[in-house]
């Protein structure tokens, strides 16, 4: 008999009334979680995706639009191109991120804090910054043009480089979480059995992070397949599914065809969900209640080689972001390279000036605050509640959808749903509130997966034992689970903050006269030909995010010291 069922038996009888109340609270929590995702994601999506089976007048036409799209000559190219780009980028990003995450969690290499901050660098910057940098570096006027051996940066090469750069921190975050929670006793056993380092890596480390690895792969794959920013800026004529949506929706205002392509883009997410279910059955909790925290031991050779492996990644990050910083000071690239601070006078520029900047910060703050607690609590309910399988499965499925929805589609979906005259929530439309809700929904999945990855590694025995001690589940949640997962929770908060500061694609449809956003102003300045001011605002947002990250690190260090001593033991 497993320890859990013993615990459950012990709880039976006397405390049944108590458990009942617990379950009631949990069910309510799950219902609220499902309701939030229903309103913030599923219903708006339905509002737009239902257009895929309608004609322009709104009549039901069955699969007519799908047939029309399938018969268009470029479809096959777009699908193949999308799959190729996504697969290649996923392989590159996961390899590099695994390497980096391993070095950061399992070695004693020096400067870990700085290295980690730098490696998260790409996520702190609006996606336009790396695009500008790549053109400066590898464009026809670029100073490293010869590195491409005559190939053009405008096309698949540019898309893969910029998306690898942009997706790297997303994968790194999930993999660090996966590698942080592990049982040292496995490694002690491996050592006692004189298992070689490589063998230990393949037989202990890899299996223990299987869930994180697969989550990260799907996240990267889906991010790449739905992103239209990079292909639009640097993709040249290389058509992908996401740019097809852009052509239909922005170029031709054909919402019906845009919806058709969106439906096709949902397929990978559904696949991810199925695969996720499959892996989940096989994942075993690694941090049992008897687990020992893993502590890397200094090993000069290993530490130095890890550092050497990390250096090229850091060099690329610094190179790309540094070029963008440089771009923000250049007067007129490439013909007038004199440097000036003029580009930072935002009140003289397009797009809302400093007001937009402060709106962005306010929006990001609310998104991080409400988003991280909401998402983590929901993840907890999905992962740790006993029973109610259908409801938990539903919430988990809902949580996987946002990743597969291009921001462009999400933004329009919000207009159709929230602005409908008969929607009781339509007073939200045009407010800061709708921007916050939309952004939480938009970035829900990665946060959900990070939380689940962290939670999965905590033995369910904690809950069972608490239950046997008649501690209500929410106390276990607040006093055991939450502190155990604090690093992951903080990670989620920062992730939401930086994405909220930098997001464009969805909110571009939702801001109003009083809620202009800095990220949108970057796009508009770039569009108006003010590349240097656009870069300047981008650099300002990047520095803000890094500053917040630093602040968060300083503030949380004490907090983590207090709650995470078990990791250092």
């Amino acid at each position: 008999m497993s320890s859990r069922s013993i615990a459950m038996n012990a709880v039976g009888g006397a405390s049944r009334r108590f458990l009942h109340k617990d379950q009631w609270v949990q069910a309510a929590g799950l219902l609220i979680a499902a309701a939030f995702l229903l309103v913030a994601m599923v219903l708006p999506l339905y509002a737009i995706l239902s257009k895929s089976v309608q004609n322009k007048a709104g009549d039901f036409v069955g699969l007519e639009n799908f047939i029309a799209y399938a018969s268009s000559p470029s479809l096959f190219d777009s699908v193949l191109n999308s799959l190729f780009i996504a697969s290649l980028t996923t392989v590159i990003v996961i390899t590099l991120a695994l390497l980096a995450a391993y070095a950061l969690t399992r070695s004693c290499m020096p400067f870990k804090g700085v290295i980690r901050l730098l490696m998260m660098g790409p996520i702190f910057a609006p996606s336009l910054l790396p695009a500008i940098s790549l053109v400066y570096l590898f464009g026809n006027q670029g100073f490293l043009k010869s590195w491409l051996f005559g190939e053009s940066i405008y096309g698949p090469i540019g898309i893969v480089i910029s998306l690898s750069f942009w997706c790297f921190p997303h994968a790194l975050m999930i993999l660090i979480t996966a590698l942080s929670n592990t049982d040292a006793r496995l490694y002690e056993s491996a050592k006692a059995l004189r298992t070689s380092g490589w063998r230990t890596f393949f037989t202990v480390t890899l299996p223990s992070i299987k869930y994180g690895l697969i989550s990260a792969s799907f996240v990267v794959f889906t991010l790449v397949i739905t992103d239209f920013g990079a292909p639009k800026v640097i993709g040249g004529q290389y058509d992908v599914l996401a740019t097809d949506i852009y052509k239909q929706v922005i170029g031709q205002q054909n919402f019906q065809m845009g919806a058709v392509v969106s439906v096709i883009l949902l397929l990978p997410a559904m696949l991810a969900f199925a695969a996720d279910r499959w892996v989940q059955k096989k994942q075993v909790a690694l941090v049992t209640s008897r687990a020992q925290p893993y502590r890397a031991e200094p090993n000069r050779r290993k530490d130095v080689s890890m550092l050497a492996l990390c250096l090229p990644i850091i060099a690329i990050v610094i190179g790309v972001l540094g070029t963008a910083v440089y771009a923000s000071f250049v007067t007129f690239w490439p013909y007038n390279l004199s440097l000036s601070l003029n580009n930072y006078q935002f009140d003289l520029m397009d797009g809302g000036g400093w007001d937009a900047y402060f709106n962005s910060i306010e929006m990001a703050f609310y998104t991080a605050l409400f988003g991280s607690f909401l998402i983590f609590t929901n993840a907890y309910l999905v992962e740790k509640v006993q029973g109610m399988r259908a409801l938990r499965g539903l919430v988990h499925l809902f949580a996987m959808i946002p990743l597969a929805v291009p921001g462009l589609v999400l933004g329009l979906a919000y207009i159709f749903f929230f602005n409908a005259p008969n929607n009781p929530l339509n007073s939200l439309y045009g407010t800061m509130g709708i921007l916050v809700i939309c952004t939480i929904a938009h970035y829900y999945t990665v946060c959900h997966l990070t939380s689940i990855t962290a939670l999965k590694q905590i033995d369910k025995e904690f809950e069972a034992v608490s239950a046997s001690l008649k501690v209500p589940f929410y106390q276990t949640f607040l006093r055991v689970t939450l502190p155990l997962c604090l690093p992951a929770l903080l990670e989620v908060g920062i992730y939401l903050f930086v994405n909220a500061v930098n997001t464009v694609s969805a909110v571009v449809f939702l801001y109003s006269a009083n809620t202009t956003l800095a990220s949108v102003s970057i796009l508009n300045m770039d569009d108006a030909g003010d590349i240097a001011p656009a870069a300047a605002m981008g650099v300002l947002l990047m520095l803000t995010c890094m500053g917040v990250k630093l602040l968060h690190w300083l503030l949380s260090r004490q907090l983590i010291n207090n709650t995470q001593a078990w990791r250092k033991a």
């Binding site: 268009s72 000559p73 470029s74 190219d77 053109v135 464009g139 026809n140 006027q141 405008y154 096309g155 639009k232 040249g236 004529q237 290389y238 058509d239 740019t243 852009y246 052509k247 929706v249 922005i250 170029g251 031709q252 205002q253 919402f255 007067t331 007129f332 690239w333 490439p334 013909y335 007038n336 520029m349 397009d350 797009g351 400093w354 007001d355 329009l412 207009i415 159709f416 602005n419 409908a420 005259p421 339509n426 439309y429 045009g430 571009v508 449809f509 801001y511 109003s512 006269a513 009083n514 949108v520 508009n524 569009d527 108006a528 030909g529 590349i531």
Partner: protein, 341 residues
């Protein structure tokens, strides 16, 4: 919010309460626009000089985004009026019954092609923006490229791989070019022309201003774009020459309209009256060489003096009704081909 803004708000509030007794109390207008941000300040200031009791809340973005947003909001329009959006877009909105017809006082003073010819017009024009070729003189010298003077020139082998133009499927400017060639050269010759041009195209971009920006940054020597963007970049220091091909130029106009269902119909009407006034036309002339009211426009830097004569007799209705077919044809011919080297 800055102190200044608060002060303005206070001042406005005082003004509003002072005029509360009159029939048209102070009101706020939500105006959607795709105009340049720097123009918005000038236009609003001029309008407020006349109507200090009407506050304009701008929502500004690129043409494609604003049009998509307006259409998506159809069931519950948020905008009271549109001031500065492509006429092509307003035609789509008119087709969706989303515009409130109104005849601004003095509309007959505008050139005929600059306002809706219905008995009560649904939209009124402001100014014209026209196609132009941005030609980078520095890069041209490097590649030994002569300066083109006509659309036909651009098909010469010497320009192979040196021209960038917007994809008509994603950009209104791109469609403007394609539709103007089809109208000027006739359908058959127009497509043949594009076949030849396609051989020289380095790539098709997704935005209409991008080709000129690429030319300005030296990423491509020649960008087919529009004149206004080229002139602005030249002013900033880009080594550009603006070429206005002699066969004729495709063009579209910026126009204004009232959105049907607005609660502020009176204020919106005042905005329309102002948008076609002589004073407003003088404002438009700062950046645009051709404006709706004849006899007003003064030459604008970097624009040819005969700009108005170069503009083709653009048939907007024809372009709108054939758009889907044209785009499909274009996609079949050029989009599915692999990248030309």
């Amino acid at each position: 919010m800055t102190n200044k803004a608060t002060f303005t708000k206070l001042a406005l509030a005082t003004l509003m309460s002072a005029t509360a007794l009159s029939a048209h109390a102070g009101s706020e207008l939500t105006v959607y626009t795709a105009l340049e941000a720097e123009d918005l300040k000038r236009y609003a200031a001029a309008f407020n000089k006349k109507h200090p009791d009407i506050k304009i809340n701008w929502v500004r973005d690129s043409t494609g985004i604003v049009t998509a947003k307006l259409l998506a909001e159809k069931e519950n329009p948020q905008a009271d009026a549109v001031w500065g959006l492509a006429a092509t877009s307003l035609l789509v909105l008119k087709g969706e019954q989303m515009l409130q017809p109104y005849k601004p006082a003095g509309v007959e003073k505008l050139s005929k092609k600059f306002y809706d010819q219905d008995a009560t017009p649904s939209w009124v024009g402001m100014d014209a923006w026209m196609a132009a070729v941005c030609f980078n003189t520095v890069e041209a010298k490097k590649h030994n490229l002569p300066k083109p003077t006509s659309w036909e020139d651009l098909t010469k082998p010497v320009y192979q791989g040196h021209i960038v133009m917007p994809n008509p499927n994603s950009s209104g400017t791109g469609f403007l070019d394609v539709s103007s060639w089809l109208q000027m050269f006739g359908e058959e010759n127009g497509w043949q022309y594009m076949d030849r041009l396609h051989n020289n195209i380095a790539r098709y971009t997704h935005s209409g201003s991008k080709p000129c920006k690429l030319a300005a940054a030296g990423e491509a020597p020649i960008g087919i774009s529009f004149a206004f963007r080229g002139a602005k970049l030249k002013k900033k220091g880009a080594p550009l020459d603006l070429v206005f091909p002699k066969e004729g130029l495709g063009w579209d106009m910026e126009a204004s309209a009232i959105v049907k269902g607005t609660d502020n119909l009176d204020a919106a009407k005042k905005l329309m009256d102002f948008s076609i006034s002589e004073e407003a036309n003088r404002l438009y002339n700062k950046g645009y060489a051709v404006v709706a009211m004849p006899g007003i426009a003064k030459p604008v830097q970097y624009f040819p003096e005969n700009a108005a004569e170069l503009m083709i007799d653009n048939n907007f209705e024809w372009a709108a009704s054939n758009r889907t077919e044209i785009l499909k044809q274009w996609q079949t011919r050029y989009d599915s081909k692999s990248d030309p080297k």
